[in-house]
Symmetry: C2
Subunit: 207 residues, 2 copies
């Protein structure tokens, strides 16, 4: 039996529709009343785990799930040992540097070398500013990173932007893009190589 | 003006009631319609930031907030450079080791030395098992850690338990307690020493 790890949040609906199109029905997860964390497909061929986006690659890396769907941002931040199979083209967003619209900064290189950048994506942020040779301090936050510049704790943030609404509502503007992100299909490398549960056929159908 | 960092979630209501009892009204945060991240007290003497529990010590450490309220579990996991002022006695919970009720493990020392323990509190978990001289692998998860034992990815979890309902619903039982946790009042060390904005008076009132 194949187990698929699915991410809570933004990507869930499209992920479930994609799996429905290849004959696997996990639509029970879309029922807001459910508190279930794992459900079988109605055909009994597969089951799905519903987990935090950041946990999807963990279940796949440890082989508890043979397949997973997760944003490229998570793969780029965590660098898990999983096989990247397909760019699923949905869930488009970008990892951006943003500052207060009222600040003087209009590019990442204008930020002060002793400045601070708040982010949930500390590895992505650190790599980016290292590539610019700008030794800013990365302040790790778990949520509402836009409060960094608003309170004056940091000059900038590195965060995922999709519509840009949160930035606008908080008086912030994007001044640089680190990379673009979409949903990806990932696999446990050994399971994929061994074609456990006829994984190849399923992956081909999803392509 | 004093800034207080308040944690979203479980501790928020009691935190706001405590601050009301010393004359600071931030009850607007309890209005579920609000998306505001910072609000002034009605008297204009103070303001509050509403942030993730894990971010409270960050704002206090960097001095953007002079005071903060946060669970001891967060302080123990992150070890931020903040002054621990008062045990506020509410928000009681405990950091526990739990396993499947159907497993044979009935104490932490019975876990296999090459076993896995899933946790959101990787530092607490690592320290605890090091103190037992049990070289288990800690698997970092962000949510629903109970899926670790359920899927077979890990033998045990280390997680915060209050009523124990989540454990029961998932067929897990506690086999050890690392420590107990309650809400704590913390301060930016320098602001507290300098008595910025008459902090001492406010802290005395809260005691």
């Amino acid at each position: 039996m194949i187990t698929v790890a699915l991410p809570k949040g933004e990507l869930l609906k499209n992920s479930i529709h994609l799996l429905q199109s290849v004959g696997l029905d996990f639509s029970a997860f879309l029922d807001s009343g459910t508190r279930q964390l794992q459900i079988p497909d109605t055909s009994g061929k597969a089951k799905a785990l519903l987990v935090r986006a950041q946990d999807v690659p963990v279940y796949v890396e440890y082989g508890q799930a043979q397949l997973g769907i997760v944003g490229y941002d998570v793969l780029r931040e965590k660098k898990p040992q999983v096989a990247h199979l397909v760019d699923l083209q949905f869930g488009y967003c970008r990892m951006s540097v943003a500052v207060k619209a009222s600040s003087a900064y209009r590019s990442a290189l204008e930020l002060p070398a002793d400045g601070r950048v708040a982010s949930k994506y500390v590895n992505c942020a650190r790599e980016y500013f290292q590539s610019l040779d700008l030794p800013v301090e990365i302040v790790p936050l778990y949520g509402s990173v836009e409060l960094g510049p608003i309170t004056g704790m940091s000059e900038a943030i590195v965060d995922l932007v999709s519509s840009g609404r949160t930035l606008r509502e908080n008086g912030l503007i994007e001044i640089a893009t680190l990379y673009e992100s979409t949903a990806r299909l990932i696999a446990h490398p050994l399971s994929y190589r061994l074609n456990t549960g006829n994984l190849h056929k399923l992956v081909e159908d999803m392509r």
